[in-house]
Symmetry: C2
Subunit: 385 residues, 2 copies
């Protein structure tokens, strides 16, 4: 057996930079100290450009799903009508959460692997004869690897539904452009374990004044995820209402430093490069991508290898090449595999996965494609630098 | 200025052992991997003796308050009658959570600094003419430093109310004895950042078959904290329904190893020793404890120095001696200070705080008590070894 060095390419959790790891290793501090207040304020402010938010970003202790629930449970009251755009498993989860809180959910269901086209939302909203409280959308749908046209969807939401526009940015914020104000986003949530290069356990919520007004008057039963408590604690003394994940927040500050140093523009274009290299490489070895180039996310690529090859490739990458990727979810189980390329990821990481794919195809059916994906990816890289 | 080495003596968060820190620094792994399932199963099982539970302990990603809410929101339905024993700020929080979920809360309010005597609960339950769904109690009330007689309260709950008995063990589990079955506890929750020696961000829930039945039929709106989802994921494939705090769970395994190596009995008696040393030391320098010895928690000691000295002492400990302790909460603000001594804490740590107190008293009003607290604490230590 080779040296047991493991390579993580799931679309979350993602690898943690050594600097961030070190930052999380600082001695524990009390969460009612001045030192913690400064840390929280610093992180909440440095996250503002990353979320395209005009207000400091709130931090909650929980999984990405707790961020989705926070966005829903602070807005929805029993019997409210809401629209959820479902382009995959995480849109479906958003809809399930809204239903769990008693909303009448109008699902705009899109074929998996496709984005929600602006006209589809426009027609759907026009067809509904209800007062819509909110439209929920998924920016990057992790289960298929599409990236929805959030700016256009936001414009239509405001023009037709005049409602809140709430966006799940879990698997892309920190890797893509976003501007809450000009894109008409009222609430934007994310998690720590994706492009933000942290372990799982922190949830991020950015929100505007519209959202605050609705949240203030929302009478849905909640306590731990009650945003009014987080807003008040932050305003009063830059604290959190409940004991926060202190070490993850120390790590988050270092992540913000790293993004500032590279430059947010550069971070975003690096992810575009990673996407391009991955897709050119896959094409060169005739592995079909599940999503058309123009709809594809810069953070995760779904591959449709055909001939029941998805699971064998995934298994071989793990067992022989120590590379962990993700399989398909729900109806895509066994049909696709998914490669995460976000956060702490460079062009060399893309080459690593592509090389392992070249090796695996030879292992599995004798195909000789050595070097082909790498060549195509390097050519894409060359155009960029 | 002296070397800036900081010493954390708040009753949570508490210092993290180096071994645990190292364990949390392992490379990130995917949460849908075999490796993670093994880790989760291992931790859930190793926590069983620590929680005195016959079933594996469930892990959620959240603060201690998310553990309290989980215990409440999975049981309470609108208009249910529940009893909450309130011996301080955290009992009050438990009551507030129950109210937030629509329960009729009967508060058995005890003077702060006292425990709930078994007869008080007996009389209170006998005085109520309602069908009680659950009795909520706080094992260690962090705001005052009392430890409630959970075994006796459980016996009375079962005998008179025939209801669920739900216990907040956040600031003591891992430092005190507990047996869910013989103590009649149906749900016992805790958090990571107290005696369990981890950073904040993990919540622990132990529950029995009674509780599972109630939780299964509870129709309260919930999603992220829905225990049925956690039970199903654990049973099906030793996983969690939502992306868990992987690095904290790696740390939790190392904590379990440390507790196994020292021996749970020994861990519990070490905390008794720490309490004894702290209290004997305080007496020797005439600093009044807020709680009588027999009611006092082995994990946190509240001190009532009189003459408006609480805040000046706390400030001086921080600024001159780099020791962080906690102040009083709510009506005890400025009246007391609190010293946490749980988890990664040895007799030498108690001597460190006592010594800083001796120094501070001299700084503040010229009292010459040098060595007195230390002598008394060492004598208590000597009896133990």
């Amino acid at each position: 057996m080779l040296l047991n060095q493991q390579f993580l390419f799931t679309p979350g959790p993602t690898p943690i930079p050594e600097r961030v790891q070190l930052a999380m290793n600082q001695p524990m501090i009390g969460h009612r100290s001045q030192a913690f207040s400064h840390l929280l304020e610093d992180v909440s402010q440095k996250l503002m450009p990353i979320f395209g938010s005009k207000d400091p970003v709130l931090l909650l202790t929980g999984s990405g799903t707790s961020a989705l629930e926070t966005a829903a449970a602070n807005v929805i009251e029993e019997n409210d009508h809401v629209v959820v755009i479902v382009t995959g498993a995480f849109g479906d989860r958003f809809a399930n959460i809204c239903e769990a809180f008693g909303a009448n959910v109008h699902r705009l269901t899109i074929e998996w692997g496709k984005i929600c086209e602006p006209e589809q939302l426009e027609d759907f909203l026009n067809s509904l004869d209800y007062d819509i409280k909110a439209v929920f959308a998924t920016y990057c749908e992790t289960s298929t690897g599409v990236i929805n046209p959030i700016k256009e969807l936001g414009e239509i939401t405001k023009r037709i539904a005049h409602s809140l526009f709430i966006v799940d940015g879990v698997s892309c914020i920190g890797a893509v452009a976003v501007d809450m104000e000009s894109w008409n986003i009222d609430i934007l949530v994310s998690g720590s374990q994706k492009a933000l290069m942290l372990p799982p356990g922190l949830a991020f919520i950015a929100l505007n004044e519209n959202a605050k007004r609705v949240i203030q008057s929302c009478n849905t039963k909640r306590f731990y995820l009650d945003l009014n408590r987080y807003l008040a604690s932050y305003e009063n003394d830059k604290s959190t209402p409940f004991t926060p994940a202190v070490s993850l927040i120390s790590g988050a500050l270092e992540v913000c430093h790293m993004i500032e140093e590279e430059g947010l523009e550069q971070v975003i274009s690096r992810h575009q490069l990673l996407k391009r290299m991955m897709r050119e490489g896959l094409k060169a070895i005739e592995l079909l991508t599940f999503v058309a180039d123009e709809y594809a996310s810069p953070t995760v690529t779904a591959v449709c290898p055909g001939n029941d090859m998805a699971n064998p490739i995934k298994k071989l990458l793990q067992e022989k090449y120590s590379i962990t990727i993700a399989g398909g979810q729900k109806q895509l189980k066994g049909q696709i595999f998914r490669i995460g390329h976000m956060g702490y990821c460079t062009p060399f990481d893309i080459l690593k996965v592509l090389s392992a794919l070249e090796m695996s195809l030879h292992d599995l059916d004798g195909r000789n494609v050595f070097g082909k994906a790498i060549k195509a990816a390097e050519e894409a890289w060359k155009q960029y630098v």
